[in-house]
Symmetry: C2
Subunit: 572 residues, 2 copies
């Protein structure tokens, strides 16, 4: 039986870093070559990083990407590399180049361009056309496909297999969201089984603005069985010997009425000396899948780490209130960056409780981070005096509450400006949804770590992290007290909002599932609750537009995948 030794190389590329990405690819290719691989597969658009967005509208950038590919190809040896890049013809194409022996020997252009959710590929690319070309690598016919291509049952994978491919590789930049890996594995197993070919799925890893790519590259046999899985959220070169059975070509019934594929042309790759392939050293890795909460936590940590470091920062600062949100963000930041690169600032006001301050200081000790205290009373008092002609003698209201939050924002930004620390914000998804935040106050900062984490999940993540630590990183007191912004005496969140266990399900249905108010009521939610939530969410859109990016961990985050107008009178 033929054996194809393949390396699934999940590298952590950086958008726009053409030279750096070439080096990342070549480093992994070297490892693949040393392991005796015939073929190394890299992520979609590995040369440019994904998504390059409007950099693609610069012809000079696209030309530089092509030059970077040539530099990469020139340095390839006997192990072939399938690498994502931007191809230029009559238009632009999201493409893969097969490089070996110092040259590009063929290319494939993505057929199916996603243009929904966070994806905008129709903005930049034309789909590839015609029947795909195969590549004969170490005697095995190999097909190439890119990401979305795999989600079409009668698409390029099925057609390549029907045309003779015994292995099809699939280059990806698939963003993470909770539950995504299981969906992917089910779909890919079906695809391999239906097509009757082995399937090598390679995914990018790392954070890029609001997206985080989870890696977890996969290899399936032609019966749909999982042969190997790379770890989630880590760079990895996954080496697998694929035992390729004799070709068993399925007759492909194309729903669009195209004739069944007969035999696709194949580019012959040079034969390699047998000495290049050392004996199989190990059974293929099947990395375990993280438990659901640990997986989300890992996504948050990697997204934070990469945003900070890829943007040239090394240290971060955040306001620590003694509440659960800032406690979780501090903990994630420590896991992402190390305790010595995380700084907390407690900024008590006249309404802050002593116990909250103590909780914040205790968090600092638990995590081993420095927490300094800067009371905001002097500026608070001055501002009230300055604004007295406007605010008059009336009782304090939302104006004064926001004032305190904004003065804290000013303090954090001064530390950021002075010390070069990147400010992390601490708002959760439930708050972002209903606008329970102060614009330029607690929303002020560069990265919103848990902006896609509903309040209920915030608690779950804290408890799970404590459990894994085997100790209270986040004190039980923080997890059991009633949430409060402490911006007025005796304030509790549930005075302004429904309790989070009531709020979160309505938000999920309205925000993530695109229901209308009428549909929410019909599905059993209380009408007055529904009316309140819908109105709050819609009114807060102007705030969300001015808040920083954060890690997307759900199927619909506030960000590129939810593009609603600010000016909007729909009440539905």
């Amino acid at each position: 039986m033929d054996v194809l030794r393949v390396a699934a190389c999940q590298v952590n590329t950086v958008v726009g870093d053409l030279g750096g990405n070439v080096e990342r690819v070549l480093d992994a290719l070297r490892q693949a070559e040393e392991a005796g691989c015939d073929l190394a597969v890299f992520p979609e658009l590995a040369i440019t990083g994904y998504p390059p967005e409007d950099l693609l509208l610069k012809p000079g950038f696209v030309a530089d990407n092509r030059q970077a590919l040539d530099i990469l190809a020139a340095r390839t040896g006997s192990c072939a590399a399938a690498v994502g890049f931007v191809d230029v013809g009559q238009d632009l194409y999201n493409a893969a180049a097969v490089c070996v022996g110092g040259a590009v020997v063929g290319t494939y252009r993505k057929r199916h361009l996603p243009n929904y959710s966070v994806f905008d590929e129709a903005r930049y690319f034309q789909p590839g056309t015609g029947e795909p070309q195969l590549f004969r690598v170490a005697g095995v016919a190999v097909g190439v496909s890119i990401c979305e291509d795999a989600w079409n049952p009668a698409g390029p994978i099925a057609r390549a297999a029907a045309g003779g491919a015994r292995v099809v590789v699939n280059l990806n930049a698939s963003p993470y969201h909770a539950g995504r890996l299981a969906e992917r594995e089910r779909m890919l197993a079906t695809r391999a089984l239906d097509a009757g070919c082995a399937l090598v799925y390679v995914n990018q890893v790392g954070g890029q603005d609001e997206l985080v790519f989870d890696g977890a590259s996969l290899v399936f046999g032609d019966g749909g069985e999982l042969i190997a899985r790379a770890p989630q959220f880590a760079e990895h070169v996954l080496v697998v010997d694929i035992e390729v059975p004799p070709p068993f070509r399925k007759r492909l019934l194309d729903p669009r009425g195209r004739p069944p594929v007969e035999c696709l042309p194949a580019v012959e790759l040079p034969e390699r000396p047998a000495s290049k392939r050392p004996p199989v050293a190990h059974r293929p890795l099947v990395a375990p899948v993280l438990a659901p909460l640990e997986e989300i936590y890992a996504a948050l940590a990697m997204g934070t780490q990469d945003y900070v470091t890829k943007n040239g920062f090394s240290e971060v600062v955040l306001g620590v209130s003694g509440g659960v949100d800032s406690s979780l963000v501090a903990t994630i930041a420590v896991d992402a960056l190390g305790a010595d690169r995380v700084h907390g600032v407690a900024m008590p006001s006249r309404f802050s409780s002593e116990s909250s301050l103590q909780d914040a200081l205790q968090l600092g000790r638990n995590l081993g981070i420095d927490v300094r205290t800067i009371p905001i009373e002097p500026a608070h008092a001055s501002m009230l005096e300055m604004l007295a002609p406007v605010l008059g003698g009336r009782e304090a209201n939302l104006t004064e509450e926001n004032l305190q939050s904004r003065l804290r924002g000013v303090v954090l930004m001064a530390l950021s400006n002075e010390l070069g620390w990147l400010v992390l914000t601490t708002g959760n998804k439930s708050e972002a949804a209903v606008g329970f935040s102060t614009l330029y106050g607690d929303t002020a900062g560069a990265f919103a770590v848990i902006k896609d984490v509903p309040k209920g999940l915030v608690y779950d993540l804290c408890r799970d992290r404590n459990r894994r630590a085997g100790r209270e990183l986040i004190s039980e007191a923080v997890l059991t007290k009633a949430p409060s912004a402490e911006l007025r005496p005796e304030q509790r969140d549930d005075q302004s909002l429904p309790p989070y266990e009531v709020l979160d399900p309505v938000l999920a249905a309205y925000v993530e599932q695109d229901r209308t108010r009428a549909e929410l009521e019909a599905s059993g939610f209380d009408p007055s609750l529904t009316a309140l939530v819908v109105s709050l969410v819609d009114k807060a859109e102007f705030k969300r537009r001015q808040t920083p990016p954060g890690v997307r961990v759900s199927e619909k985050a506030f960000g590129k995948d939810r593009r609603v107008p600010i000016t909007n009178r729909y009440q539905g």
Copy 2:
């Protein structure tokens, strides 16, 4: 000769306001009917407002839009109405319904979906297919097309005309940018001439978040001659008698090799009693085109007015520094909303000059707006004291400069919270490009009126507005003094930045024309200037993401039409 009396109804719809939009359409339809029109044409997606963005992902919203269309259709009489709505079939379609006598008698689905610049139609819609249907109105065969359809030389307009249409209507939501109207007129004249049919182009009017639609609906004869033009930036019902020559069908040579169109089927609309058409009362209006600076100014005023009022606000507030940017924004706001709805706040710091404060107060007198003075010294001094352990005894730097700007932001937001005034920001495009602004400071606010106006154009707009007023609304002193942020002693903008007459052309080439650094150098820009500008623009992306929307007046604004990654190492 047959005469078709058509009304081009440029209404100002509101996104999501289904019921309100139906009323707006019916109001204009009533005017058309009273003027004896056979056909009234409305903008693209008039039922939903344009662009509805992700509201389209709610099946409930789409169903409500369909119901709104039925309500509208039920109220039509003998004048037919062509109205944009979202059609549902196997998928969603950007469509036009022809309604008459209480019913929808036919629909047309847009063939060409723009998915570039500010447009995302491929995210929502499938293109219509097949040959278009004609409608026989008062004995005249009429074709229907939507917006982008008109930009394709062999597209639906040419095909409808070749199939027998003697008039083709084109429903639009075409956003304004400077110079756009002349492009449109040239293209549409060519289209009418090439197709040999009359062409009725109807455009939406009004502001929607960052977009402003300029109206200026147009009617062309079959020789490409302009017959009528509605005013820019105003709602209008433009009534025109189109004298329809006997059909002269052109043989349409289709570059895609489709057979020439023979004769398209037509829906017969009911004949109307002759008494319904009063004699022509007037020559058709050919509204003059505003001069370039007045046109941009009008776009800024309409965009501001609609953002404020459509979002339910009535009054605005802005910081007035005595500088040229805030002076222009205040003037625009007064023209948009009236002097009694505009409030200025002068917030001198220890570094502000007396002359600047006087310039701010003089502006208030010139415009007739109230300007109050709130010195920020008390909070400034308190903050410096609170931050002393961090800032130490060193000389003041950028940290202290940003601090002052942020305290002003806090004051303005307190006024906004307390008095319900919407905060306008005053930064211009040159500053937004290079990040010469303080996040949460001078960028704090709901709407950034001149964010798409480069500094050089700011001066031009001020002088032009003074000229039209016949007096100095903005004092000559403001226009001639050196720009300064006055955040440290003796500060002038040109200490940190190249002069604006040097900066603006580099910015235009880099930001609006998507050149790379190498290309800028090759085209003659100084290499060190180029390197500085490119680096500043790229580094400021994180700031721009957190700034409010503002009126788009250029072909590429910072907003939906420039989607660049924050994390981006491309140096090109």
